[in-house]
């Protein structure tokens, strides 16, 4: 498991990316809700989000919902692609016979 994308190939970030990939296209989730879904501390989640943002895999936007500031997160197009490639690579590792494009794409 050497040439797997090192940004995603870490337990915590894989969970973050997997959770974000389950959102609908064009949807963003607030930081506290994502934190609750992943059961991570705010500090820990921030660190991993920063790394994912630096790689261009997530988009983080600050906005206001009513009067309270909110941080919204989503997987970028690039992040979604990287996650799909990673999942594909993992599947190939598990079953090398299905090299190339597999018909069984993850349905959302």
């Amino acid at each position: 498991m050497t040439d797997l994308d090192p940004v995603i190939h870490a337990q915590a970030r894989l969970r973050v990316v997997a959770a974000l990939s389950a959102l609908g296209d064009g949807d963003r989730i607030t930081f506290p809700r994502l934190q609750e879904l992943l059961a991570m501390t705010a500090g820990n989640l921030s660190v991993h989000l920063r790394k994912l943002e630096d790689a261009g895999y997530v988009e983080i936007s600050k906005t206001h919902r009513g009067r309270t500031p909110a941080t919204l997160i989503r997987l970028s197009r690039r992040g979604r692609l990287a996650f799909e490639e990673y999942t594909e690579a993992i599947r190939t590792l598990l079953d090398p016979s299905q090299l190339g494009p597999t018909p069984s794409k993850e349905q959302s």
Binding site: L4, Q11, A19, I29
Partner: protein, 212 residues
């Protein structure tokens, strides 16, 4: 976990399992329990239209002596309660997600609100000139017809086959009830409509379970 969560998963199988579990957990947490969305409406129709049938029975009879105001009040209160339960369950599930699906849900909500107002405005205007039994039939057939159409639309928006099927079912029994006439319409909607919604909710819940 705080310290070593930067480490890669132990092996490929663990990684794949981690992806599956996290996606399934996220999907199931981000959608409300289908029972909370469907069942209150099913109960409202079953009980509300059931009382209506018992008090305002076919051919002007009265099967059970209930106060005149009770059926409509009960139906209205149960429908409001169902709407409130759905709103709370929906807000708890989708509340922290913004974007396309939130907009879709909001616009769909507007379709219900505006559609109801425009249909009821017309029905209210006409029904005051009708005898009581026909007025009641017009009100409930218009309400049920609108509900059926919006379920069909919801099925189209979310490509939800079960929601679409429920819309077909509601529309068909509405037509049958209207043909059967005043009094009978309430019985058909209570039994076939109420049960249909309860069954649709059960099927939707089973699908949710299977996915997670």
């Amino acid at each position: 976990m705080e310290h070593d969560d930067d480490r890669p998963p132990a092996d490929a199988a663990t990684a794949l399992q981690l992806i599956r579990d996290q996606r399934a957990a996220t999907v199931s947490r981000l959608e409300p329990d289908a029972r909370l969305i469907y069942w209150p409406w099913g109960v409202a129709w079953l009980v509300g239209f059931g009382l209506f049938f018992l008090r305002y029975s076919p051919d002007g009879r009265v099967l059970v002596r209930l106060p005149d105001w009770l059926p409509l009040t009960a139906l209205f209160a149960l429908l409001v309660a169902a709407g409130a339960i759905q709103a709370v369950a929906g807000a708890r599930a989708y509340g922290q997600v913004t974007g396309d699906s939130a907009r879709r849900g909001r616009w769909y909500g507007w379709a219900w609100a505006l559609g109801s107002v425009s249909v009821y405005a017309a029905v209210g205007r006409v029904s005051e000139h009708l005898p009581h039994d026909l007025a009641a039939l017009l009100w409930s057939a218009a309400a049920v017809g609108l509900t059926g159409a919006l379920h069909l639309a919801g099925g189209a928006i979310w490509l939800d086959r079960d929601l679409f099927r429920l819309g077909v079912w509601i529309s068909v029994i509405n037509v049958l009830g209207v043909i059967a006439g005043p009094g009978w319409h309430a019985l058909v909607i209570s039994v076939a409509g109420g049960a249909g919604i309860l069954i649709a909710g059960t099927i939707a819940r089973l699908r949710q379970r299977r996915r997670s």
